[in-house]
């Protein structure tokens, strides 16, 4: 019950927002209040039930379409819990960070809340059709958020995003439907370890499912929608767009493709690891070339997502734990960096790296936190990303040595472009007199980023806080694929 309540409270919030009078303060505080509820509920679940999330707990199961054996089946397990938590947290922080949204504020929050329903639902769905529906519920809200509140390029960016990901998810749906028809139902529980499908059938079903999920991530040859969308979006949309949405794809791979179709995914795993490495290296190289700070962060995000693919492909405990952990760590650091880019752009009036410089003196807090985020992104020990990238690379190396070594190289490349960026943005002379007057991040902006920085630190020092929750579920996945 608590799962369902958490998922659908934002929907009530969306309706509430539309009914509110046009008072800006009232709208901002009510949105905060609404977004706090799922976050508090998830936090409560963490402390009350955190130890028994090996299999889906807090479940609810209604038959919905009897003839097809489709049900409203939700529950939380260790694989999804971290992202369930992160989706609630990042929506809350997105609302804190929504200072650059000024027009049609109530509609903005309402649409964001509808997206939150989908984001929370995906990580709790225990039925393939329900998973797909939650997956798609995020689509139109994201399209609208980018298309209405984005910058000049927003229209093209929004429709490109929509068509790409809709194509992917439609293909994925065809895979789901075929899977359910052959296996006779859509409950993830009953489909575990292939649901009785032959190896050939599993491969035939796994291919479209993986394709759809990889578009969502995006894995590199399928990524061309990403840059326009990330760069055009308002800061608060970036937070969920980069922090949560890619994980719809990676979570699908870890929660659905691998444990439900183990034999079907098997032949694809080496290529999945290659895709991961391509993401890591390509993202890092292209990030190096970006003149725009936001584009750099976007490519850094692509690069970092590659570790999730590499870890997931490894099929061993270390790699898989790393992948699940990296989903959360990536969300924390990319949201942190996107918010800070938003802060810096708003204060200095530019996002061009060449025009920035010397932020450490003008904006010590924002600059310092940017440095922290960048250090996290390059996998500095003591910060959360280190744990998961290390585990993903180790796991990847065990199974696919070549890909593992190449993935490890990515850590070096990421250090290069991030340090180069820091050198130009944080240090050095103040390039433009225009922002000599620029002031440091204010209390609201700090409130949006400090929780992320703290979590990066805490999870970096005590990874067990999250790993202990996900480990039993990861072991359950491993048992279906016969790994250890």
């Amino acid at each position: 019950m608590i799962t369902t309540v958490t998922i659908f409270i934002p929907l009530l919030g969306a309706i509430l927002m539309l009914l509110l009078p046009d008072d800006e303060r009232l709208m901002r505080y009510s949105a905060l209040g609404v977004a706090a509820v799922p976050f508090l509920l998830v936090t409560y679940v963490y402390f009350a039930y955190g130890d028994d999330l090996g299999a889906a707990a807090l479940t609810q199961d209604f038959t919905w379409i009897e003839s097809l054996n489709v049900g409203y089946r939700v529950g939380l397990d260790g694989l999804g819990f971290g992202m369930f938590f992160l989706a609630a947290l990042l929506t809350l922080l997105a609302i804190v960070a929504s200072w650059d949204v000024r027009e049609n504020l109530k509609q903005y929050y309402a649409i964001l809340f509808v997206a939150e329903v989908g984001m929370l639902g995906v990580f709790a769905a225990q039925d393939l059709i329900l998973f797909y529906i939650f997956f798609e519920i995020t689509l139109i809200p994201m399209y609208l958020l980018v298309g209405i509140w984005g910058d000049e390029n927003r229209r093209q960016a929004a429709i490109k995003f929509f068509i790409y990901t809709f194509l992917g998810s439609t293909v994925m749906l065809a895979g789901f439907l075929a899977f359910g028809i052959i296996a006779g139902g859509y409950s993830m529980d009953s489909l575990s370890a292939g649901g009785g499908l032959s190896r050939t059938a599993q491969i035939a079903v796994a291919a479209p499912i993986l394709f759809g999920l990889l578009v969502k991530v995006p894995a590199v040859p399928l990524h061309s929608w990403l840059l326009d969308v990330y760069v055009s979006s308002p800061t608060s949309t970036n937070v969920v767009l980069s922090g949560v949405l890619p994980k719809l794809g990676t979570y699908g791979i870890i929660r659905i493709a691998i444990p439900l179709l183990p034999d079907g995914v098997q032949p694809f795993l080496p290529y999945l690891a290659v895709l991961g490495v391509v993401n890591i290296l390509y993202g890092a190289f292209v990030a190096f070339l970006q003149p725009d700070l936001k584009a750099l962060v976007a490519y850094s995000s692509i690069s970092s997502l590659g570790y999730i693919l590499l870890g997931a492909a490894s099929g061993n405990a270390v790699g898989l734990n790393g992948a699940v952990f990296q989903q959360v760590a990536h969300g924390l650091y990319s949201a942190l960096l996107f918010i800070l880019v938003g802060v810096i752009a708003a204060r200095t009036g530019t996002r061009r790296i060449a025009e920035l410089g010397g932020l450490a003196t003008r904006m010590p807090w924002a600059g310092g936190l940017l440095a922290l985020g960048a250090l996290a992104a390059m996998g500095l020990p003591g910060l959360a990303i280190f744990v998961s990238e290390f585990m993903s690379v180790m796991g990847g190396y065990t199974t696919f040595p070549v890909q593992g070594v190449l993935g490890a190289l990515g850590i070096i490349f990421s250090a290069m472009y991030l340090l180069y960026m820091l050198a130009r943005v944080i240090f050095g002379p103040i390039e433009r007199p225009a922002y000599e007057e620029a002031t440091d991040a204010g209390p609201v902006e700090m409130a949006a980023v400090v929780p992320l920085a703290v979590l990066l630190l805490v999870l970096g020092i005590f990874p067990a806080l999250l790993v202990s929750i996900q480990r039993p579920a990861v072991e359950a996945v491993l048992s279906t694929i016969g790994g250890s």
Partner: protein, 478 residues
């Protein structure tokens, strides 16, 4: 064959429709243009048709009458409900406009006559009865399309519709006669006996002509040329209603003819239908992409949707038949909600795609409703259209036939292909600035009520799809 009380019960929806046709016409003649009363009666009449069919369905009534020429089963009753309910919304949408033309009784009589033809049609088990019922539903619809005398396009559309419609009827009749010639009977159960094994050339010709005639009526490419002109010219309520109710009934009877009349020839007709389905999807969507006029866009979109529904017909093989029947039932209901809503919104906004610009800022609730219709027509969950498409894919995936897989692949490709034009409307509404100085048309409360009700139903369809599929499973067909 005696007329027993049971016969009258079986004919209840048809009798109700007939009664209200006469009543509305008479009240119009003697009632001194009391538009409110006429509209009220017509709305009541369409609800009564749907209600009586629902009542029969609830009591589990079934049987065959008139020498097995007229059959009542839950399959037929289901479509009678769809027809009656969509007529209700058409009457609401027509209320104010038809009052202003001064010909409300005549126009509403035409709507109810189409209802009568359509509810008769779905119960027919005799090919000549099928032909008569189709004509009873089609002839008033020519007049409906041409009814708006203030616009030249209306007469033009009506004329084109009439000419092609007459050709279609003769093609259909020719096909029926050939089938009758081969079988020696027009009753579907007798036809089933002769349509087995290898078809004789005459039987094949009859079948092809029959399907072609139906393709005309269903505006399936390459027999769709009347559709954009007719829907553009027709009064909005007529386009909304005709694209939904008679079409649903025609799909229903085609399903009955195939499954009851020629199940042994399934290899042949699924192949023909598969070809037509793919063609209709591509033609409909590719032409819809080019339209700036929302009426024409929706007309081509209806060609594409006919293709999607025909894709379910192509899946009528072996084990997949129950799912394919469910797909047709669910799709037609879903389509009725979203397509009527999309058409009726034209009356509230305008027929130029640009008139939707900035609607989100000026009338957010309306923009939200139109957004729901467009998303549903695209097939995005959790809206009604998604379930239609999902069931078609399901049915296709169960057939295990490569040809059907190709059709399903075409459906997936076309779904993505249709995104730009449906979402073009959404983009105009949400992303563009309102065009200054262009007032929205003044709106009647009844149309607004119809649009909002349909939008809510399109959203809440997700809760009805379970019971609907259960109903479809017990459809009585097969």
């Amino acid at each position: 064959m005696a007329l027993t009380g049971e016969t009258f019960v079986a004919l209840l929806p048809e009798l109700v429709a007939t009664g209200f046709v006469i009543l509305v016409l008479l009240v119009g003649v003697f009632g001194e243009k009391n538009v409110g009363l006429v509209v009220g009666l017509a709305a009541l009449g369409s609800l009564a048709v749907a209600g009586s069919a629902a009542g029969l369905l609830a009591t589990g009534f079934s049987g065959s009458f008139f020498g097995d020429g007229f059959v009542v089963d839950s399959f037929a009753l289901y479509f009678k409900i769809i027809v009656g309910a969509s007529a209700f919304f058409a009457v609401l949408a027509a209320a104010r406009w038809s009052g202003e033309t001064g010909d409300a009784p005549e126009y509403l009589t035409l709507i109810l006559s189409v209802v009568l033809g359509s509810v008769l049609l779905v119960s027919m088990r005799d090919l000549f009865g099928v032909f008569l019922a189709i004509e009873l539903a089609t002839i008033p619809s020519y007049a409906m399309v041409a009814f708006d005398r203030s616009r030249r396009e209306s007469a033009e559309g009506g004329m084109k519709y009439l000419l092609t419609g007459v050709i279609a009827s003769s093609v259909l009749l020719y096909g029926i006669v050939l089938i009758y010639g081969v079988s020696g009977s027009a009753n579907l159960s007798d036809v089933a006996g002769t349509f087995s094994g290898d078809l004789s050339p005459v039987a094949l010709l009859g079948l092809v002509l029959l399907i072609s005639g139906f393709a005309f009526k269903l505006s399936v490419a390459p027999f769709h040329f009347w559709t954009p002109d007719a829907y553009q010219g027709a009064p909005t309520s007529a386009a909304a209603f005709l694209s939904v109710a008679p079409k649903a009934a025609t799909f229903a009877i085609l399903l009955r003819i195939f499954l009851e009349g020629m199940p042994e020839a399934a290899r042949t007709w699924t192949a023909v239908v598969a070809f037509l389905a793919v063609l209709a999807m591509f033609v409909g969507n590719l032409f819809a992409l080019r339209q700036r006029n929302v009426r024409r866009m929706l007309a081509y979109s209806s060609v594409a949707h006919s293709g999607y529904i025909l894709a379910a017909f192509a899946a009528l093989r072996g084990d997949a038949i129950p799912t394919a029947v469910e797909a047709v039932l669910i799709y037609t209901a879903a389509y009725a909600l979203m397509n009527m809503g999309a058409f009726l919104a034209i009356d509230l906004v305008g027929e130029d795609a640009k008139s939707f610009n900035g609607l989100f800022r000026t009338r957010p609730a309306l923009a939200l409703s139109v957004g729901v219709f467009m998303a549903a027509l695209t097939g995005i969950p959790p809206f009604s259209g998604f379930f239609g498409k999902a069931w078609v894919i399901l049915a296709g995936a169960q057939t295990g036939s490569v040809v059907v897989y190709v059709v399903i692949g075409a459906l997936v490709v076309n779904t993505v292909l249709s995104v730009p034009y449906y979402f073009g409307i959404i983009r105009n509404m949400f992303f563009e600035e309102p065009i200054a100085g262009e007032p929205l048309p003044s709106t009647a409360g009844a149309v607004r009520f119809a649009v909002y009700t349909l939008a809510v139903a399109t959203v809440l369809f997700v809760f009805f799809v379970g019971p609907l599929s259960a109903l479809a499973g017990a459809s009585g067909l097969l």
